[in-house]
């Protein structure tokens, strides 16, 4: 154990809230954990040492505001530097929706929350353990059986410069219920944060999910969104990531009930020296599940994208349909993409397709467009943005898609072809 991990474990031991008994197992695992090295497969491409070496200075007094997204009409709940902002919980919630601080007596009385904590996410994710042990604040969201919540909930997770922050979100979508949840992460100055969310999606329930991992610059973030799907549950998840000094997201989708359907669309756009690492894992534990994963990214300059896409089809998960594809566009010789599909298939009657491609920019086509007076930035977008735009077009919420589109275009237009 290194200093950072042992200090995290020590701090964790001193916490005595209602989740303390639930944290014990994670605490023990954390105490046994080693700091990852270059040989640790799960962290192979991540310069994880910058996390340990970071010297956070609270002198950096940025204070990012949570801007509403125009036209979205969402309930915005703000977590700032790991602290839930109580005033943002004052909304008049619609019937069937309960939103509580993690650190509240009411939350402690929810059996499902007790049973869900640390049970959806994978057991051994090092920073998941850190979050298990240290996240004393966050949110509990409960959507009652059959409730259909029209307005999206947006959790704005702000981490300012100098902060170390650990936030946790637990969500239950009751059977037959429907809800849309946006996890929106921002921050650009030197900071360290973990943000994990666990979702339990009930029978015939529907979750529309977004994770906007828009940390940039020096903000280091490691987090994950993890989903358990009951029978015939439907999950549509959309991940959008910018890279930063260190940015890692894990997405786990567990088919626990038969006939569930999951779609995960992910976009990453990286420039400069940014890094983004996506690990996805789909567990088809039961029969008749469907999963589709479209992961697409553009990497420029000195940046690096890591994608590890695991699909695990268990022995009894017959008639599973699983698709995974990863498409990348490389804008410079120095940018890197490490992409690895990992298929483990133990059932014989399944359909599973996967593929990964890395394309380079067509310089001749760029020149042809420019020779007609079209400027470089626009030519670049016309030629190479289509495959990203397709995933934006696919977002079920048109307001969010239109909010993102210009930001993504701008980020891409600023990238240089080298």
């Amino acid at each position: 154990m290194t200093n950072w991990l042992s200090s995290a474990a020590q701090r964790g031991e001193a916490i005595h809230d209602w989740l303390a008994p639930r944290r014990q197992a994670s605490l023990r695992l954390l105490q046994e954990s080693q700091w990852p090295t270059r040989k640790t497969e799960a962290w192979k491409y991540v310069p994880i040492n910058v996390w340990e070496r970071a010297e956070l200075s609270t002198a950096v007094a940025s204070n990012i505001e949570a801007e509403p997204i125009e036209g979205l009409n969402s309930f915005d709940i703000v977590i700032r530097d790991g602290q839930l902002q109580a005033d943002t919980l004052a909304a008049a919630w619609p019937e069937g929706l309960q939103v509580l601080p993690l650190a509240s007596a009411e939350a402690a009385r929810l059996d499902w929350a007790q049973a869900t904590f640390a049970q959806v996410k994978p057991e051994r994710h090092l920073f998941g353990l850190v979050n298990d042990v240290l996240a004393t604040d966050g949110l509990i969201i409960d959507v009652a059986d059959g409730a259909r919540i029209e307005r999206p909930l947006r959790i704005v997770n702000i981490v300012n410069g100098g902060s170390e922050a650990h936030a946790r979100v637990l969500v239950r979508v009751g059977s037959g219920a429907k809800v849309s949840i946006v996890e929106h992460y921002v921050g650009n100055q030197l900071s360290q944060s973990t943000g994990f969310a666990e979702y339990s999606i009930g029978t015939d329930a529907e979750l529309e999910h977004y994770r906007f991992a828009l940390q940039s610059g020096e903000a280091m973030h490691i987090g994950g969104s993890h989903f358990d799907l009951a029978e015939r549950a439907t999950l549509t998840s959309n991940l959008v990531a910018f890279g930063s000094r260190l940015s890692r997201v894990d997405m786990d989708i567990n088919h626990k009930g038969e006939g569930a359907k999951a779609l995960l669309n992910a976009i990453y756009l990286l420039d400069g020296k940014e890094l983004f690492d996506l690990h996805s894992n789909i567990e088809h534990a039961v029969a008749n599940g469907t999963s589709e994963e479209n992961v697409r990214g553009i990497v420029a300059d000195n940046s690096r994208a890591v994608f590890n896409g695991r699909i695990h089809i268990h022995r009894h998960a017959q008639k599973t349909l699983a698709e995974l594809n990863n498409r990348n566009l490389l804008l410079s010789d120095r940018a890197e993409i490490n992409t690895k599909p990992e298929l483990e298939i133990y059932a014989d009657d399944v359909r599973c397709a996967h593929g990964a491609t890395v394309a380079e920019i067509d310089k001749k086509a760029m020149y042809y467009l420019q020779s007609r007076g079209i400027e470089r930035e626009q030519a670049q977008i016309m030629l190479n943005f289509g495959f990203i735009n397709e995933l934006v077009d696919d977002m079920p919420n048109a307001v969010l898609a239109e909010w993102l589109r210009p930001q993504l275009r701008q980020r891409f237009a600023a990238m240089e072809v080298k």
Partner: protein, 254 residues
Amino acid sequence: MLSIKNLQVRVEDKTILKGLNLEVKPGEVHAIMGPNGSGKSTLGYTLSGRPGYEVEGGSVTIDGADLLELEAEDRARAGLFLAFQYPVEIPGVSNMEFLKAALDAQHKAQDKEPMSSRDFLQAARAACKQVNLPAEFLKRGVNEGFSGGEKKRNEIMQMLMLQPKICILDETDSGLDIDALQVVANGVNSQRSPERSFIVVTHYQRLLDYIKPDFVHVLSDGKIVKSGDSSLALELEQQGYAWLQDQPAPAGEE
């Protein structure tokens, strides 16, 4: 209008243009002929700003301004147009989207209002008709799966839409059937005006029967080795290029 002085151009580590001079005045039509590999396309690419074409010496001005320091898109906006010998296929971008973006960009550069979609569509359809391309080609990917002749007509169609001041046609006649040749020639002739100039690169006298050039130049080994009027093209057709080897270089060349 276009003034090329002692132009020397290298591609990778090969020097291709070795001191080329050419003066093009408004309204003139210049034909450039010459053996394969002599540097004709290189001249067109260099003028239009293709990356990788390194100017090692000489100058090019357009209406007195330095052309060579402009980006490719700014050269187009300054009125230069190259009809490619090998037009590029761009699946995923429709011909229509491409043409509209090009036109909007040029209008913007000229501080003009963008064309309305309706006017644009009308003009694009008319241009297609003029070069005998069905209007459905507007919906297809740029040059995607077009036949050789269709690609060439598509180049002329763009020229009709963009109304450039200096048009460089690089072997636009090769690969065209007899009717298409006439269509292309008519397209060019319809654009001839006292303000607009053409540089027509060709291997065949036939095109020059339709488009009467004011001057004919022979480009050989990176230089213009002979210039004359349209009768020179006929001479070349009969005698080939070999006899030029023994000719003294025209005045103005080193």
